[in-house]
Amino acid sequence: MRPMTTHIVSAFSEELEHLSADILRMGGVAETMIDQACTALVTGDQMLADQTSEMDDTVDAIEVDVERRIMRLLALRQPMATDLRAVVAALKVASELERIGDLSKNIAKRVAPLAGADVSSAIKGIERMGHGVKQQLHSVLDSYSEADAELSLKVWSGDEDIDQHYNSMFREVLTYMMQDPSLIGAGTHLMFIAKNLERIGDHCTNVAEIVHYQVTGTYLTSSARPKAPLLEG
Amino acid sequence: MTDQTAPTRATRPSSFNDEAAKKRLRKRNAAERRFKFYGMAAIGVALAFLVLFVFSIGSQALTAFSHHKIKFDLPLTAETVAPEGVGDTAAIAENVSGFYQLVRENLAERFPEAAADGRERELNDLVTRLAVLPMARATAENPGRIGETFAYSAALSDDLDLYLKGAVAPETRFKSGPVTDVMRTLQNGEKRIVLRGDGAFDRIVSEQAALRSGEGGTILLQSETSIARLIDSSPDGVSVELLTGDLAGFDGPRADVRVIPLAEDARNVTDRQIAWTLALKEDGRLSRGINWALLSNADSTFPEIAGVLAAIVGSLFTMLITAMIAIPIGISAAIYLEEYAPKNRVTDLIEVNINNLAAVPSIVFGLLGAAVFLNFLALPRSAPLVGGLVLGLLTLPTVIIASRAALRSVPPSIRSAALGVGASKTQTVLHHVLPLAAPGIMTGAIIGMARALGETAPLLLIGMVAFVAEVPSGPTDEATALPVLIFKWSTGAERAWEPNTAAAIVVLLTFMVLMNALAVFVRRRFERRW
């Protein structure tokens, strides 16, 4: 993408920059939440887990603020073309990030019930998966800030790995629960955590699609995306 | 807080209560008032000149618009009035001397002393020969009046008219004391008439002394229809020369005294003529009325019967020809130049030349007219036809320039609109542009015509300065125009031409004002907004 020239109305440019900065800030918080939720899970650190849950409020607050400012921008500036796409993208990315925040909070909340359960090997898998998801989010935020369609495309197609990860986690936890019925409670929590991470991955994909549209003006359709086959049974 | 902000505010240059700013403002306001005053002063000066002009012309003209007439009751005897026979009306109309004879006889009858003194000529000059012309014509039109008595008012001679209007000399009038005795004496071998009255003539003595030390003059004594000229005076008695009437009239009453501070040979009216006129006035035969002759008569060599009608008609014919030349050609040229002509060197040249033509002195057009129309085309001299052609050429550039300005002021959006619905160029011009420009074009044309109406120089050169005693009946007849008439009258030798000139100027100005008013009316009435 060519370097952006500034608007004749400089306040308009400032508002757009402010908007993308807020999105990136929001993304940063969401990224930290994933990271901390996974760490809390691995270390069983309840305090860290509570702290992570509280961070969701920040994400929600930023989202409300972003939404309000986008409404104002649409009403007052009537953005066109690239600006219109940027504003609409910001609106959609904000809601995706808000969902990611919610899901991370949900993971953090499952730290307490898992305390004391002997599922360390499964948690290792979760940690790896969490790392991958975090990496996806990081990349897609990079692609957003750099307006890099190439990178967003890479994130978009990279979701396949997360799905495979999830499938193997699902299988592993299922095996644990079959072997030791006392682990069914903890296993269910683990399954939800894995599912949450997989959902976060999907949201990252959505963000990648949005970024791709914002930058190129063309739609990526989900049906064309490579997907790992759903595990049967 | 307030302590800190106050000084900052005071140092701001745009503060409302800053002393320096106030001073600047005062200076600016003073300059503004001064400028306004200059403008008002300029308008005041212009107005003062206008008022002065109108007043001087108007007051002079007023003198000319009224004049004195002598009433006659004349028995129209067939042998005098119609020596060729009652049936020959043409001869009657031409028989000025016959009618004039009646007037002369009438005057001689009233003032027998004129014949006795051999001063018939002096008496006859009270009425100009040609002043009886309307009577002759009226009689010719209605021959049945012959044999009857004709009540006719003839214009008083212009010089006496002016005397009565007080324009000859600043006359002083007063009454003497009662005359107690009238007697005839013989003094130094001359017959003298002496009026006596104790202390009745104090003032006359001093007035006569003043006249003698000055440029001379006449003192007249009047008692009803008896008028005498003062010869010598003392406080108790004056010796006089009887000019008209009888001496008995002076016995008893106070005499009216007129001091005319101008010697008899320095004026155009004799003492006797004045005496006769005053006697006629006393008879009640002299009346002052509106001088319709000024408007209804043609030009004459006698100011009292000269009128502007022929000049007005001549001007009208001239203007008719001018309008027929200048308006259609001017408008057509303007339309072509403004709407059709390509913008190139040739049209630029034409435009420059039209503008130059408008600035060419009018006398040059006169020379051109004389050379082309009179010498080359051999058109009649002194005719409104030629005058109109010359003035038409003179007005043409003005009309073209005014029409072009009017056409230019029509907004281009109207042209676009017409072209946009598929009107052709000519339809656009005729249906839309011309109607909108018409008020402006008409205004320009009327103003141009008004200018042409006042034009003198070119008409002089094509001979329209000729003396025309007949009202022209067509554009090829000999004619003169109003401004030329004014020019001619202003060069007249007799005093009476002066007020006549002013009166003619007033007539011309009236026409101009009317035309300008028409122009304003046309502009107001037909102006359209878009």
Partner: protein, 278 residues
């Protein structure tokens, strides 16, 4: 990245599709302009513009001042003929007929291609005469009743009939600005043109009057091929199906309005419509 991954990505990109926007391709071309060059004296105003304008749709010309959009518009009904120094090259076909050819009289052309101007410019005549003028000079109406009918239908189509039916004899200049402009539109459609050119028809009007005109344009689209020059991008976006962006006498971008306003392909277009010009 491995060989296989690369191939897969290529196929992915090729699978990326663009959703088609409101389609005007179903309409035939009404006005086909081919290699139009216009110059005023030595100064060239239009550089080799070719474009096909579809019928029964609104095509908007946008671009900064002096970009040649009005000049190009005026080529279509040969209004440039009235400007002496203007020289037009190229061909413009309306229904396959070249309007610049010698056997087409501009006067007749203008009865087929109506025009509405920037400033409402009714004739200083009655409302009735404003409408009736065109049919009269073109001999469209033969009788008074025909003329009455044309006046009524034209005013009705222009949405003005109910407002002025009781004062047809009053001057058209006495109407409000928006009414005057609708009167001008009625005047243009009175001669039953096929194409209506509008040169910034709302620039002198308030937003309400503008909205009325825009609504009218949308209705007229059913019958006419409308080309509108506008300075307001929002207006172009609102009323048109196709948008052409002109810059420095060149046609920079021409496409479906939706595409032009959401995803312009040229950087200059993008800069202009996002307000980054200069």
């Amino acid at each position: 990245m491995s060989e296989t991954e690369n191939t897969r990505k290529d196929t992915l990109i090729s699978q990326v599709t663009v959703t088609p926007s409101a389609d005007t391709s179903g309409y035939a071309t009404k006005v086909d302009c081919k290699h139009i060059n216009v110059s005023y004296g030595d100064k060239q105003a239009i550089f080799d513009i070719s474009m096909a304008i579809p019928e029964r749709s609104v095509t908007a010309f946008i671009g900064p001042s002096g970009c040649g959009k009005s000049t190009f518009l005026r080529c279509i009904n040969r209004m440039n003929d009235t400007i002496e120094s203007a020289k037009v090259e190229g061909q413009i076909f309306i229904d396959g007929e070249d309007v610049n050819s010698d056997h087409i009289d501009p006067v007749l052309l203008r009865s087929r291609v109506g025009m509405v101007f920037q400033k409402p410019n009714p004739f200083p005549k009655s409302i009735y005469d404003n409408i009736a003028y065109g049919p009269r000079i073109h001999g469209i109406a033969t009788s008074r009743t025909d003329l009455d009918e044309i006046v009524e239908t034209s005013l009705t189509r222009a949405g003005l009939w109910d407002e002025v039916k009781d004062r047809l004899t009053q001057p058209g200049t006495g109407l409000s600005g928006g009414q005057q402009q609708r009167l001008c539109i009625a005047r243009a459609i009175a001669v039953s043109p096929e194409v209506i050119l509008m040169d910034e028809p709302c620039s002198a009007l308030d937003p309400i009057a503008t909205a009325r005109i825009e609504e009218l344009i949308d209705e007229l689209r059913e019958r006419f091929c409308i080309v509108i020059v506008t300075h307001s991008m929002q207006q172009a976006a609102r009323v048109s199906q196709r948008t052409a962006f002109f810059h420095l006498g060149k046609l920079v971008e021409y496409g479906d309005t939706e595409t032009v306003f959401t995803n312009p392909s040229d950087d200059r277009t993008s800069d202009y419509i996002t307000g980054r010009f200069g």
